[in-house]
Symmetry: C2
Subunit: 168 residues, 2 copies
DNA sequence: CACATTTCATGGACATGTCAACGAAGTGTT
DNA sequence: AACACTTCGTTGACATGTCCATGAAATGTG
C-alpha cells in the first residue's frame, strides 16, 4: 500500500527522514532528562525566558514566541512553578496578565543544563554533518518551516474527501 | 545563554532544523486528522499492519518493528479496537501472545487515508525539495538515525554531572 | 520433573498535551 | 456611561504517552 505513490527515491528519503524525526528528539530528550532532570519543554521555557535581560516575560508573549497555546504554557509553568524553577508576578501593565520570571534556582539549573545539552546535540547530530550539509539542512529547514501554515493554498492537487472516515 | 556554545552557522542551522522538527509533524498530523479522522499513530499502525499479506501481526513483533513499547502498542490498539479498526486474535503459537489484525473497516479507512496523507506530505514537504536535496537529506537522516542509541561511546567529551539538578 | 527466570500482554498511576468553557479585565462604539 | 466584543490566564475533561507491577505462559537448568 505504501510504494505505489512515491518514486523509489522519494520513498526511501521520506522514510529515512521520518525515522530521524522520531529518533533524534527522543534521544536528546532522554539525554537531557538523565543529565539534568529537565524535560525538553522545561529546557525550552527556561532558555527562552533567559533571553530577556530581566528574565521576565508576559505569558501571552512567551506563548507566542514559543508557538505554544496559552493553555499549554499555563499548565506547564504551573508545574514548573511547583518545582521552583519560575515564578509568577502580576503584570503592572494589564491586570489580566501575568509575568513569568526565571527564579535564581531556575537560572542555575539552566546554566548547568546548557553545556550538557549542547554536548548531546553535538554527539547525536552536529558532529556528524560537514559544514556544507549543515548549511543546506538549515536553509531547507527554514524554507519548509516558513511555508504558510494553513492549507488554503495547497497546490492544484485535488482535495481529499472532507468527511471523517473513522470516528475518533 | 545560547550563542556562546555554537558557531554562528551551527546556531542558525540548528535553530532552523529544530523548528522544522516541531512544525512539520504538527502540520502533517493536523492535515491527517482533518482529512480522515486518524491520528499519525493510528495511521502508522494501520499501514504497518497492512504490509503483512494476511494483515496480521503479533503484538510484540509489531511493537519491535515500530520501535514502540509493548505497553504503548497495547494501550493504543485497545483504543483502535474500540473504534473497529483492528481486532485481536489469540496467537496459536504462543498462548501468552496475541495477533493484531486489520479489520475490513480498518483497511478501507487506510485505503482512503493514504492518498490524502501523501498529498499532504507532498504539499508540505516533498514538493519543496529538489532531487539532490532530497537525496542528501535522506542519506544524512539515515546516517544520524543509525548512530548507536546508547551513550557509552559519546566522543571524548567530558561527561556532564550525572545527578539530577532539579527534582521532577 | 521441579524450580527459577524470562517473556508477554495488560493494567493502573502519573505526566503532558489538546480543546472548550469560564470569569475577569481591556477595548471600541455610541 | 453603557454596551457588546475581545483578550488573558486558568480550569476541567479527555487523549495519549511513560513507567512499574502483575499474572500467565514459555524457557532453561539441575
Amino acid at each position: 500500500m505504501a510504494t505505489r505513490w512515491l518514486s523509489a527515491d522519494e520513498e526511501l528519503a521520506w522514510r529515512a527522514f521520518r525515522r530521524l524525526l522520531t529518533t533524534l528528539p527522543a534521544r536528546l530528550a532522554r539525554d537531557l532528562t538523565a543529565d539534568t532532570g529537565l524535560s525538553m519543554t522545561d529546557y525550552e521555557v527556561l532558555s527562552t525566558l533567559s533571553e530577556k535581560p530581566d528574565r521576565r516575560w508576559a505569558l501571552k508573549d512567551l506563548a507566542a514566541k514559543m508557538e505554544w497555546s496559552r493553555s499549554r504554557l499555563s499548565h506547564h509553568t504551573t508545574r514548573m512553578q511547583d518545582r521552583g524553577l519560575i515564578d509568577r508576578e502580576p503584570d503592572p501593565t494589564d491586570a489580566r496578565g501575568c509575568l513569568l520570571k526565571l527564579t535564581d534556582t531556575g537560572y542555575t539549573v539552566l546554566e548547568q543544563a546548557a553545556p550538557a545539552h549542547l554536548a548531546s546535540v553535538r554527539d547525536r547530530f552536529l558532529d556528524h554533518l560537514d559544514p556544507a550539509e549543515l548549511d543546506l539542512l538549515g536553509r531547507l529547514s527554514t524554507r519548509i518551516a516558513d511555508l504558510p501554515d494553513d492549507r488554503t493554498q495547497r497546490n492544484g492537487r485535488e482535495r481529499a474527501a472532507p468527511g471523517r472516515l473513522a470516528d475518533r
